[in-house]
Subunit: 510 residues, 4 copies
Amino acid sequence: MALICIRTIIIVKKVVESMQKDRIRQGRLSDDRSEDVISYLSSMDADHWIADADLLVDMAHLLMLRRQGIIDEEPARILMALLLDMQEQGMPAQVFDDRYEDVHAGKEAYLIEKAGIDHGGRLHMGRSRNDEVATCIRLRLRDEMIAGMDALIRLRSVLIRVASEHTGTVMPGFTHLQHAQPTTLAHHLLAHEQAFSRDCGRFRDAYTRTNRCPLGSAAFASTGYPVDREYAADLLGFDGVVLNTMDAVSARDFALEVIAGCSISMLNASRVCEEVVIWSSSFVKFVNLADAHTSTSSIMPQKKNPDTAEVMRAKAGTVTGALAAAMMIIKGLPMSYNRDLQELTPHLWRAVSECRKSAALLADMLSKAEFNRERMEVEAGAEFSTATELADMLVREHGIPFRTAHNIVGRGVRSGRLDIESLEEAGQEMAGISLRSQGLTSEKVSAALDVRRGIAMRGATGGPAAAAVEQMLSVCRADLDNDREWLDIMKKGRTEAITHLHSEARRLVQ
Amino acid sequence: MALICIRTIIIVKKVVESMQKDRIRQGRLSDDRSEDVISYLSSMDADHWIADADLLVDMAHLLMLRRQGIIDEEPARILMALLLDMQEQGMPAQVFDDRYEDVHAGKEAYLIEKAGIDHGGRLHMGRSRNDEVATCIRLRLRDEMIAGMDALIRLRSVLIRVASEHTGTVMPGFTHLQHAQPTTLAHHLLAHEQAFSRDCGRFRDAYTRTNRCPLGSAAFASTGYPVDREYAADLLGFDGVVLNTMDAVSARDFALEVIAGCSISMLNASRVCEEVVIWSSSFVKFVNLADAHTSTSSIMPQKKNPDTAEVMRAKAGTVTGALAAAMMIIKGLPMSYNRDLQELTPHLWRAVSECRKSAALLADMLSKAEFNRERMEVEAGAEFSTATELADMLVREHGIPFRTAHNIVGRGVRSGRLDIESLEEAGQEMAGISLRSQGLTSEKVSAALDVRRGIAMRGATGGPAAAAVEQMLSVCRADLDNDREWLDIMKKGRTEAITHLHSEARRLVQ
Amino acid sequence: MALICIRTIIIVKKVVESMQKDRIRQGRLSDDRSEDVISYLSSMDADHWIADADLLVDMAHLLMLRRQGIIDEEPARILMALLLDMQEQGMPAQVFDDRYEDVHAGKEAYLIEKAGIDHGGRLHMGRSRNDEVATCIRLRLRDEMIAGMDALIRLRSVLIRVASEHTGTVMPGFTHLQHAQPTTLAHHLLAHEQAFSRDCGRFRDAYTRTNRCPLGSAAFASTGYPVDREYAADLLGFDGVVLNTMDAVSARDFALEVIAGCSISMLNASRVCEEVVIWSSSFVKFVNLADAHTSTSSIMPQKKNPDTAEVMRAKAGTVTGALAAAMMIIKGLPMSYNRDLQELTPHLWRAVSECRKSAALLADMLSKAEFNRERMEVEAGAEFSTATELADMLVREHGIPFRTAHNIVGRGVRSGRLDIESLEEAGQEMAGISLRSQGLTSEKVSAALDVRRGIAMRGATGGPAAAAVEQMLSVCRADLDNDREWLDIMKKGRTEAITHLHSEARRLVQ
Amino acid sequence: MALICIRTIIIVKKVVESMQKDRIRQGRLSDDRSEDVISYLSSMDADHWIADADLLVDMAHLLMLRRQGIIDEEPARILMALLLDMQEQGMPAQVFDDRYEDVHAGKEAYLIEKAGIDHGGRLHMGRSRNDEVATCIRLRLRDEMIAGMDALIRLRSVLIRVASEHTGTVMPGFTHLQHAQPTTLAHHLLAHEQAFSRDCGRFRDAYTRTNRCPLGSAAFASTGYPVDREYAADLLGFDGVVLNTMDAVSARDFALEVIAGCSISMLNASRVCEEVVIWSSSFVKFVNLADAHTSTSSIMPQKKNPDTAEVMRAKAGTVTGALAAAMMIIKGLPMSYNRDLQELTPHLWRAVSECRKSAALLADMLSKAEFNRERMEVEAGAEFSTATELADMLVREHGIPFRTAHNIVGRGVRSGRLDIESLEEAGQEMAGISLRSQGLTSEKVSAALDVRRGIAMRGATGGPAAAAVEQMLSVCRADLDNDREWLDIMKKGRTEAITHLHSEARRLVQ
């Protein structure tokens, strides 16, 4: 008896050592690996992201094993107690020891050390690291997506609030970075809001494809144990299982979709940032950023640089680079699990965290920025920006065909001024008509060139006229509320599931 | 009178010439452009994609102008007659003349030539090429997406059909391209089916963001004319307008989303193709492709190469390259329209057409491929692929902890054979136990190693056991039917709208 | 005899038909292919790029076959006559018939039709399409690179010329798009010139890796015929053979390198274009583009948009997208030839042609642009751009530590003005010193803030002072001459080789 | 005096605090920044890469300042002593405090704290962080490139060595992953060696564009101090200065070029890895990897997975993703320095370090792999891989046109066997000739199909015949030696410069 006991101790030690040194390898593979190989293959860095999720997965798996009678009560209780301990105390550092191939191996070694091989070695029944890691990634990603949508919702609410304060702030709208036609700051900001609103929509759609559970797929062929995949999925707050078990371990299109969503959102942000950079330049001075979002130079003492906007613009590169990386990694991989997939995961984390941080910071930056109404008003009518309205007036009130009116006004601009004289001349030259004799007067020209009058006329749905903007604001607010409600439901569902999981886990231990 | 007439003729000629030579430029800009500049800036190549859509947009816009009283009845009738003519006869070649900047300019010049400047020059009231082209792109893209989903649905139905014929075809499943555990061809093919099913889901989601109408946004600030954007949107079968008019002309995130969806779908296809290449190699011989999808060598007469699969695998590069291009083009563009956006569109067409063609061809290739049941069966049990089941049996029937059982079997494999002798030895060495004395027999080992028995045990949801696969097939079929129904509704809505548009157009002419 | 003759005719017809219908396939593969498959696999579109090169390759191969006695004199003469014919008359259209898999098959079918199978069927001895196409690509790419470098050299010479006219044109230099310190337009333009100079360097380096000959590698294992690879390489003007025959057919890193070089060059161009867009905006007005490089709006008659610069900026996306595509295509391809490689080639042609056209057009645009000296001068000293010089003066003449001086001047700027009063106050506050009592005077402050004086002081190598710029111009001109000379040598070598090849070809026919 | 002293202390404290809290900002900017902004903008993570380089830059800059009389002897001595101290003792942790914007600010604060503001604040004269960081990046990158080339040289030497041991190891060569023609392992491995050889060439070329010194460019306009840029460049072992000072701080094309080189090299490695994965699969079994480079499964005890090769294949995605990111970051940036550039640098470090580690590990993996000569020999002649030789023999010895011979043999293959009977039949069918009556015998057919005989005939330059391979080995070895020598010269130059810099630094202190 004592002999057996000592023997067991020796064997336990051997197993744990083997997991540290050789990782799950001992039975099959000989020889030691160099530090270079170990660090090259290790996913430990990225595993910090999923360590907490992994504990939840362990608990759910264990509850399922117990419920299905796959594991006996005693080892189940002992293992669950250790898992709850880890959750309360935090993961012990040794779990992240670089000598383990990954956090899963590190945790299993820890459990074996604490519970003995006879109990500690039973948690991995009916699963594989292939389904385990896929479940962890989806679990953590779910949280990241919720946080990301929270940030986007905050950004949209800032845009809506600032827009609502600037429905009367006229400014030049641009095409080709040239003064084009007058609009309002509200109209302009809501254009960006709509883009971020669609970003939210994309994340919502991706969430439904992400929030499904691979657990129980084992290596890819499921398992001979009588597992209940639906029960485990339910415990973890998933909307259901990933149906096909081979698909469950080998698919990463959900990750590609999320990184693509992040990329598009960062590109939308890069457009705002470009405008922030241009608008805060001393040529334009439409916006004055809070000092907190700028920096000065180590050499030029007068500088106030829009660094936050520049770094954010650049992070569009970082996130789309993550997408390029992840896509290439997936290309041409045969079924089912290949180790290549491990290299994909850090790109996912980089994408979602940069995207979330950027949205939050952009909200902050815009909410604290001061927009310079005077500068905007001055520029609103500059550079013949109301010429379109003048041409339209010629069409409406003088029956001139649009293309002709366009050419007449264009010729006027070329002469350097738009007034009754230049228009009369242009009309003669371009169309052989006398505008004056058709009743065009200096007053009519001036009225047509008036900035605020032109904006007020643009009352079509989604245009810059005050009423149209107010209607747009209503729609934007309603959409935002809808997204916020949806997100709250998701959060609630997730929280309730995890609470339930904990209480089931504790019930097992009692 | 005659004099005026001649004058008008001269002016018309001048306008048309000006549009050919100088494009809409005449009023504002002087001097000639070199052929190099013209061809560099021209979008004519890509405009063939949207020429038909542009006619529909013209009709809807014209009906709206008329209904709102913006255009008089006579010019409206004359213009509509010309538009209907073009639709029936096909676009005249001159419309695509390279000297025009784009098809919109080409068409306007044609209308002016035919209807005279006084009528022909009135169609462009209340709109700009900025909203016009955005509307055309969405209109055409809608059709492309429907065609793409059709192809994906056909691909999925082929996968489901072939899978249903192979629920009993055992084969080795792979991880790391190594024999891992036995599974069935049905299980394997349905893993791919699920990926393409999600691709369809992504396109459905993207469709709702795509199928909205920018028309009436004009340059970006809407227009002073009393346009009815909702009416035009309705005529064209859109689900509604793109709300903000600045967003409407400058946003291309819908395009990025579609290209991203195509990229993911092509990457899913690349994984199938990789398997087709490997499976048709003479080492594996799991599949025999129809000659139609292969080629031989110009020098090696014995070759039968899986060229279609190789080209398709490579096209994943082409489509993701289109995504990379489109994303970089968008990066850092300030509001609202910039000419950069023109360069994005060809990448969109390349992505959707390659994706559609690939799905269709992959369906064809898989539907005609012969799978070699004998080769698959031979390999199914090779390379210790049933070792996991053996370890599981040791756990289940002999109460050995999983990690211990795993190590014992692993050591057995290392010895080169899995039988009662090697296992007994490994048990002693790895865990200090005698399996024989615990009741392990040669028969039990054989049973555990039996391929079909192992598969039959894997009856968890989504696993390879026959019943599980049958259940999976039901779900797959139901999802496919759901997607097909949805798509039919979309097609019907689109067709009815366009039919209605035509009848309204013809009613105007009568 | 007659019978044999008829039989031969029938067989020839069969072979040609078979090449049209079944392509080189007849012996090995049965059944017909759908149009979809044929067009999916066909490289005909891209083959127009290499058709002329292919004729040269045929001639060189044929001369080599003859010289080595592999082919008899008669068939050699007949084939060469046909090849020379094609070159003089242009390729017959049937060669590009879509029913052929590629131009090589099309040309062989044509030769067989004209010369009979007994002669026409002998050209492909000792080679394969694998080495043939690789040779064609390198041959054509060589020409494209030379043309691209020509364009870059022209662009650099424009930059140098314009710079030399503006050594005295002061302007503000920017960091973070903020006025930073004064500089000159010459200094600014030469910064871009240096980037394009390095682009040339990269193409030179890539040229040496490109200009090597794969011919004679056949499928990858060379051939049992006694070919002389060096002789063929020499005839085609290559610098030598690609040594390893497997490498010769499967490597495309030379193409990736060239596309990467094009990408970097386009990114350099995108930076110039961004500046052109900003500088031509009405806020800045530093540059007035020639009308030829701009366009107006279809709706806003006053617009003059920098479309060429915008499209060029976007083409950076197109070219880097080609790189992304090509890289993904290569990823994970085993040796040796795989059909995936065919899909890479169009990306190469797109990259080199867009790059060449952009460089040429950018040269044109910059050479015709008018720079507005007055606006630049006005802005040169604005926004405290000379503050650094002021801080440096405090260090140099008053012994104040640099960081302290920097903080004093920064505080002055924050107060809104830089004069003796604000500086005195800032000195007290930031460093507890009285600058006035240390001898600072109003005159000294003014002198330090003088734009031209500040520039004149910046005489370090590569700085904006007139002498430094003159020295820089000399270096730039010398480097340009060096590149031009090198390029002339390359062109000459190429031309001489091709002329020699033609004369040898004609000598054979005589 | 005492008062002044206390005052100075207070001010020093204020400056250092300000650099910690507000970073160089104090003079110009007010208010505090949130932790989020600080961490978003901080480059500290990446700055660990350049901290050591930064010390060297400080030393060289200081020596130059002293030599030019810009700084007095005392502060110079004190500063240099501190710098030398830091180098010997290692950088103090506080320098990397996250509250500093970057390592440059951290180090300056440390110097001010230790030497007092009056001395510590003088190091930054005549430079800016813009040129400082650009110099640091090039300095560190130089080392990384040398280490990377070292690893590539080792990889090539392994390939050459293993190839030299396998000149007689016959194996099937593949096209389209199908058995194509016999070759030898030596021939195959040397194809890869040539690709890595070109990678070295690309790095050599890039090195000459990298190893130039931006120092003295200051913010971009150089400086009013009489700096000697050439002297500083020389001290740091650069080949010269980056000529134009605006170019010097804003150009990152050298970084793009290096990342592109790394990307191409990783793609080359991915092709080797793909082969390692396929060759170690149980279908092929051409190679047996050392256990150190494989792993087993956590669930399937029999597995031996080629994880190292899979992860390396995936890292091609990571590195090309870094390229995509860096390219997008650069796109459209106007002159000169923009903060976006900071975000580029981590992608550079990721690319070079992954590339270096991969080359080293691949060398290790290949050097320890066992190639299975028996399996290779068995497969060498399988699948009609010698059919080409048979067709060629029909051409050479029976005067049949190549295309005819190709079709005859292809038809034979289709019949399932290649012998005198099947060929006779095929000759009749395809060309109406009797091969038998032309003298074809069973012996001749057998001889033509003999694997080793076929290889021996392939003696053209670069082919698989033993003599050709030996010649190739000589060339490869010579090229390798050449690269090694070049690299030694670079290393020596670098080491001597740094040694000289140290001795000058110490001389100043004495």
